[in-house]
Symmetry: C2
Subunit: 245 residues, 2 copies
């Protein structure tokens, strides 16, 4: 089977819009893409270090490779599930940081849990739309690397991206918040990359567009969130066709 | 179209395992089941009263009836979506209270956000399994009345059911916590009803079973949550077939 390379880095390369496994495949010419896997899922590092129970997803292009990674990382407290949908896992784990900024902006402008639940629900639908356009499997977004990771990132007080969005929602600029924080909110850069991917694949991502307009186009956060929440409601038209029975 | 009856009550009747719209149909012989709708979704009452943006789902057996309810309740701040999947909306909105107790138990035994994300992800899958067995549509569980309502209930500090579970997870008995709380945690009774529905429809609901065993069978919460978190992981086998592409 040869060596296995596992990426723990998240995000999308801005210039190329490549996922981390694609970047590794480019940068490691002696390694076949078949040998490259990723580890994603709802796993705040602090809690993993404390030995608190955590579940993650090991994704690789083939089942034997995914299971090899699964067994390499599995412990009593870190439960690893195998998945062969690498792109789905990578898109879910990257887009969630943009949605966490959106959830934070909603908190920052003074909206509550009801509004945030609506944003996260629609956010899951928009990350799934992008993933499906890129060849991902729908079930990945219903699992740990999709909804699981999304909800821990959007709800948790540990989340840097949610905190960043909250500061922006309170009226501070991108530059002010970036200067203050001693950690990087990776979702800021991912916002540009996910938006570029959405445009390339012809996918509507209104929440990502809204975050982009606040961070990079000078839109007022309260206007943008208000617009997202109050646009003409009818059926839940953002649900993808593949889930309509 | 005749009068329309809208239930705002949640839960399942314990003796009959009927949903609220089914109870109303029994109790109101002069009203046809076609005239009965429900309103569900991620909507903490406190936030609705404060005028904070909220989205909910109006469900009724026919589209004109669902849209009539939608328009009756819609305001600038309360956005109402129409749905004809009454049973799906009712099962999602009831089962979520059992899962919120499970999330609370996980918090109470000292697990973190990672564990809770795993529980909620699997919980969504098990409520969807029950709903599908009862004739619900899969997309309902991907929307506001499914994942939206589930996450606000499991994550929010407002949630009585989550708080109740947290107390139980810290080692207090059902009776102790019920005596202390001045509000009812409806999920306690719903646990019996959802478990009975699962048995009747032949659906596996391991998290509901775990909550039942803690509340009514004297199992230790730490053992039960530990068992749920550490059972043999392989693929995310709890994902329903209908989501497998």
């Amino acid at each position: 089977m040869g060596i296995t390379v596992v990426s723990l880095a998240k995000g999308i390369e801005n210039e190329t819009q490549q996922t981390m496994s694609q970047v590794l495949a480019d940068e490691l010419p002696d390694v076949s893409p078949q040998q490259i896997g990723v580890l994603y899922g709802p796993s705040h590092a602090e809690e993993v270090a404390q030995g608190r129970p955590t579940t993650v997803v090991a994704a690789a292009p083939t089942e034997p490779r995914a299971e090899w990674i699964q067994h390499a990382f599995m412990t009593e407290r870190l439960r690893v599930y195998a998945n062969t949908d690498v792109v789905g896992v990578e898109i879910g784990g990257s887009a969630k940081n943009v949605l966490a900024i959106a959830a934070g902006i909603s908190d920052g402008v003074g909206y509550g849990d009801n509004a945030k639940a609506a944003l996260v629900t629609r956010g899951l639908a928009e990350m799934r739309r992008l993933g499906l356009a890129m060849g991902a499997e729908v079930r990945t977004f219903a699992g740990l690397a999709g909804i699981g990771d999304l909800l821990v990132t959007c709800m948790s007080t540990h989340s840097r991206n949610r905190y960043f969005g909250e500061q922006v929602g309170q009226g501070r600029t991108l530059e002010e918040v970036e200067t203050e924080m001693d950690m990087v909110a990776e979702g800021v850069r991912t916002t540009r990359a996910i938006r570029a991917l959405a445009q390339r694949h012809g996918v509507e991502m209104p929440i990502t567009d809204a975050v982009h307009s606040v961070l990079f186009e000078g839109e007022r956060p309260d206007n943008v969130v208000d617009d997202l929440m109050t646009r003409s409601a009818k059926r839940e038209h953002w649900l993808p066709k593949s889930l309509k029975s």
